[in-house]
């Protein structure tokens, strides 16, 4: 059983991925497929809302590493929001906050795409 799921919403031209559950080497391919599909559809403004993300391992972070250059090269970004403290700590340990836009909540992330 996979304890991970993704729901996708659209807010104008911004795509919001709501990730739930546990993101590890087993479930990372689901996130990868969703990101790839968005990029293929030329949707480059992406927010990953982590409010329901309970756990992340480095395989999950690897997915963000693999696509951020492509997305930014196309004028977009992958912004992350609503992380709980444990999940944020993993991003922090690996130095992500200096390279990725990690925001308190989704609205803030949406606003930062407008500015």
């Amino acid at each position: 059983m996979k304890n991970f799921s993704i729901a996708i919403r659209q807010a104008d031209d911004v795509s919001i991925l709501e990730v739930s559950g546990e993101l590890d080497a087993h479930t990372a391919s689901q996130l990868e497929n969703s990101l790839k599909a968005l990029i293929d559809e030329k949707r480059h403004l992406i927010i990953v809302n982590c409010a329901k993300l309970d756990y992340i391992a480095s395989a999950g972070l690897g997915v963000f590493m693999a696509y951020i250059e492509d997305v930014r090269g196309l004028g977009g970004d992958i912004k992350l929001s609503n992380m709980n403290e444990r999940v944020y700590n993993v991003f922090d340990l690996l130095g992500f906050p200096t390279l990725y836009d990690i925001l308190e909540d989704e609205l803030e992330a949406l606003e930062s795409f407008k500015s």
Binding site: A25, Y55, S58, V63, A66, L93, L94, L99
Partner: protein, 139 residues
């Protein structure tokens, strides 16, 4: 100090077993009264070590098995993962440069770094055909 209790789990070397491995160590860490922060750190360290075995030692060939042992004394909790795959030489490992990896669209290579950050000591050894990574958290 002598280890009082040792619990063992043997699982197939497959990413499908990661959650089971995490739950196994979390349950025992919880039983000895570790803090939620310590439990999260141990779960992640074990996840990374197990994932590295599946990926690098066995290269996703899932007919193999991994043994996980967890034990504790008054002063420490230790976890060992044992496999019979390709061994890992920690001397060839360097700290990941995130900027460079992102530019090169590379992923991975962060597990070993995380394990070292999360645990108080990490030791790799090979006895015969068996590789062991032993991770310790002081209590």
């Amino acid at each position: 100090m002598a280890t009082k209790n040792i619990h063992k789990l043997t699982v197939k070397a497959s990413t499908s077993q990661i959650a089971r491995v995490r739950d196994f160590v979390a349950e025992h860490a919880q039983n000895i009264g570790l803090s939620p922060k310590d439990i999260s750190e141990i779960k992640l360290a074990v996840d990374e070590a197990y994932t590295n075995i599946v990926k690098h030692a066995y290269k996703y060939a899932n007919q193999h098995h991994v043994d996980i042992e967890i034990g504790f004394s008054n002063s420490e909790l230790w976890i060992s993962l044992l496999d019979e795959g390709e061994s890992f030489d920690p001397n060839t490992y360097s700290e990941p440069d995130l900027v460079k990896r992102i530019k090169e669209k590379k992923r991975g290579g962060m597990g070993v770094y995380l394990i070292r950050k999360l645990m108080d000591s990490v030791h790799y050894s090979r006895k015969g055909h068996m590789n062991e990574i032993r991770m310790v958290k002081h209590l």
